[in-house]
């Protein structure tokens, strides 16, 4: 399922109250993920954190959920 998302928007929910929305470039066996055009959200304070461009490598250790096509808590 996850590799169908490569190239599209994906929304990653961490174990903590943090979410990352970005375009999925790839992932590995441990589900570490490489994302592009990333926005980081913090759930509780209801604020949007930093918008990071370029690419990030997200450590799969803390990933709880992967939501294809998600936009996160942006209202």
């Amino acid at each position: 399922l996850v590799d169908k998302c490569i190239g599209s928007r994906i929304h990653i929910v961490m174990k903590t109250d943090k979410e990352i929305v970005g375009t999925l470039l790839g992932f590995d066996d441990f589900v570490n993920m490489v994302l592009e055009d990333v926005t980081e959200f913090e759930i509780t304070p209801e604020g949007r954190r930093i918008t990071k461009l370029d690419q990030i490598l997200l450590n799969g250790n803390n990933i709880t959920m992967l939501i294809p096509g998600g936009e996160g808590p942006e209202v």
Partner: protein, 101 residues
Amino acid sequence: DKEKKKKESIFDLSKYIDKMIRVKFQGGREASGVLKGFDPLLNLVLDGTIEYMRDPDDQLKLTEDTRQLGLVVCRGTSVVLICPQDGMEAIPNPFIQQQDG
């Protein structure tokens, strides 16, 4: 010495396919959804997922802070509990104790 190299699940999730289940995660999140798929690492695919968040208010009760998530993949590494939304289901005891005669 024979080593069991097979990845045997002690629990058969195929019984829950297409059923509503509740999943709890490390970090206190809970989600309910219809189980669409899984793998031996316990990654799950849930459809029509509702996510519940724990607040300081919440403690053990599920708040109204829910989100509809649709189709999601849940990481097996952070799953701590899986149960049917229906209620509990009894399974045959997999740990049969041998009694000494």
